[in-house]
């Protein structure tokens, strides 16, 4: 392998590992999000050239941060308007002491760096920003995706995404959204908000059909990577670790959810040997460590449900009573009709179809799920399992009248045909 390849690899690896930290520190030093991104980009470009000549530094992150910071100081020096920022930046630089990235004695303590990345996480996910902007900003500044990449992932024109990012950064500046980790009394609420953004990001990718759109399914990997980062930054928060466990346990099954023809494969028909064992083991171990802290929450419970599915050797061996109990627990945190519907499925599997149907009937009597295709689809599935195929067919028809997703429609049509020919 040539030296060039090695350097390119080192820069690519540093990009994935260090981008967020470089941007986060630069935002703190300059207070200017655009300048921070520009200088970070510039530092990575310089790395490609300089590392080829001088070798890859021992601490690439420190090298990149220093290079980006020097570049920012240059830019600010040239701009008269930057004078105040420059004073600020110079003070911040001095506070951290003289800094030589090539000094082998400068091991340093990375808690400051950790704080910078957490500041960035909480600012990107600030609840005063619209949710789409939180997601976009997280992908741009934390994950280092480019604006065209994010636009492709969310199926919006590039100009729309660029505008969304510009507006979000403008609001952060103009509305005075603080660049900091929230104080203790706000932390639980804000952490929940951050987890919500990462979960939404993952689900965007998970909902995309595998193979059909790589950029969209790539969102799953980004969400896992960001959840890993957050779990590293907040190791004492069991819900953070619970979210990472949940994402890993879902991600392990990602490739088996759709067959070669692009049709949905239900959990019980998925090829369990094709599930990602390493992800399942890691997810299960993380979940256990989170639960040991004795502070359960909705993400840990959802991860426990996912673990019940992924650790069962066969579909028939699934512990549905356990799952039904966990959905009951989840309802205490998330009292939604969708969670109740999921519980109805588990109860139907654990205690028999009649018990499940009774719960579905309760939900149907309320308005919350009116127009939601999974309500009649769930009823249909319970009836089908009980051998009541004529009633099942009727419910499949109702579900088909409501479904929008093409892959789900094909799946329901297949079931309907099976019921009619039974």
């Amino acid at each position: 392998m040539s030296v060039t390849d090695d350097v390119e690899k080192a820069v690519a690896a540093a990009f994935r590992e260090e981008w967020a930290q470089v941007v986060a520190t630069l935002i703190r030093v300059t207070g200017d999000w655009d300048l921070a991104e520009e200088c970070a980009q510039d530092a990575f470009a310089q790395a490609l050239e300089r590392w080829r000549r001088d070798g890859v530094p021992r601490r690439p992150g420190a090298w990149l941060t220093t290079t980006a910071r020097n570049r920012a100081l240059d830019v600010l020096r040239r701009e008269a308007v930057g004078a105040a920022k420059l004073r600020e930046a110079a003070v911040l630089t001095r506070d951290e002491g003289p800094y030589d990235p090539y000094d082998p004695d400068h091991e340093g303590d990375d808690s400051g760096v950790r704080d910078d990345r957490l500041r960035l996480v909480f600012t990107c996910c600030h609840p005063a920003l619209p949710i789409e902007a939180r997601v976009a900003l997280t992908l741009r500044t934390l994950a280092g995706l480019t604006t065209p990449e994010i636009a492709r992932a969310f199926l919006v024109p590039e100009a729309t995404m660029a505008q969304r990012l510009v507006r979000a950064k403008r609001k952060i500046r103009n509305a005075g959204i603080p660049y900091r980790v929230p104080p203790a009394h706000l932390l639980p609420e804000r952490t929940t908000g951050v987890l919500g953004v990462l979960y939404l990001l993952f689900n965007e990718g998970y909902a995309a059909t595998a193979g059909a759109d790589l950029m969209r399914s790539g969102l799953c990997a980004e969400a896992v990577r960001l959840a890993r980062l957050l779990a590293r930054l907040m190791p004492d928060e069991p819900e953070v670790v619970g979210l990472l466990a949940l994402l890993l346990l879902h991600d392990a099954r990602r490739d088996t959810r759709v067959d070669a023809a692009g049709d949905l494969v239900t959990l019980e028909d998925q090829d369990r040997t094709a599930w990602d064992r390493a992800e399942i083991d890691e997810g299960a171990a993380l979940l256990e460590s989170a639960l040991r802290r004795g502070r359960p929450g909705p993400y840990q419970i959802q991860a426990a449900i996912a673990a019940c599915h992924t650790t069962a050797a066969t579909a028939a061996g699934t512990d549905w009573a356990d799952i039904a109990g966990l959905y009951g627990e989840l309802l205490r945190y998330v009292p939604s009709a969708v969670v109740r519907l999921n519980r109805a499925v588990a109860v139907g599997m654990a205690e028999g179809g009649e018990a499940g149907l009774a719960l579905v009937a309760e939900l149907a009597a309320e308005d919350d799920l009116a127009g939601y295709h999974l309500l009649p689809a769930t009823r249909a599935d319970l009836l089908r399992r009980m051998g009541r195929t004529r009633e099942a067919a009727e419910s499949y028809e109702q579900a088909l009248a409501l479904v929008e997703n093409a892959a789900e429609r094909r799946f329901l049509e297949k079931r309907l045909a099976e019921c009619r020919s039974a």
């Binding site: 600030h126 103009n174 509305a175 005075g176 959204i177």
Partner: protein
């Protein structure tokens, strides 16, 4: 940073008079807090939207209409100008405002400085 808190009340709701507000413990504790912290730099309690007159100018003609400039479900009943460190502090203050607690809402707008 300076922010204006627009205190919004649902249309058709009951409004307390300034005299009633002075006796309402929810308001008095809020007023006590903002006075102690010295964060309010100005503000006004407004008469109901029905007493508003809206002025537009078309060419040389001054057009007047009765009522507020837009038909909304809520209208501005008053405003506070506050000075705090950042948006989180402004939100914290707004979330303790009695109007926000009593079914109304508070719009937090940064002052253009």
């Amino acid at each position: 940073m300076k922010y204006v808190l627009f205190i919004c009340t649902p249309v058709g709701g009951e409004e307390l008079s300034p005299a009633e507000i002075a006796e309402d413990p929810r308001f008095t504790s809020y007023i006590h807090e903002v006075r102690t912290r010295d964060v309010v730099k100005g503000g006004a309690r407004l008469r109901p939207a029905a007493d508003a007159t809206t002025v537009r100018v078309q060419g040389d003609e001054v057009l007047l209409s009765d009522g507020p400039f837009a038909e909304t479900k809520e209208y501005v009943a008053g405003l506070d100008i506050i000075e705090v460190a950042d948006l989180d502090e402004a939100i914290a203050l707004a979330s303790r405002h009695p109007a926000a607690l009593a079914g109304g809402s508070v719009e937090v707008r940064p002052v253009w400085e």
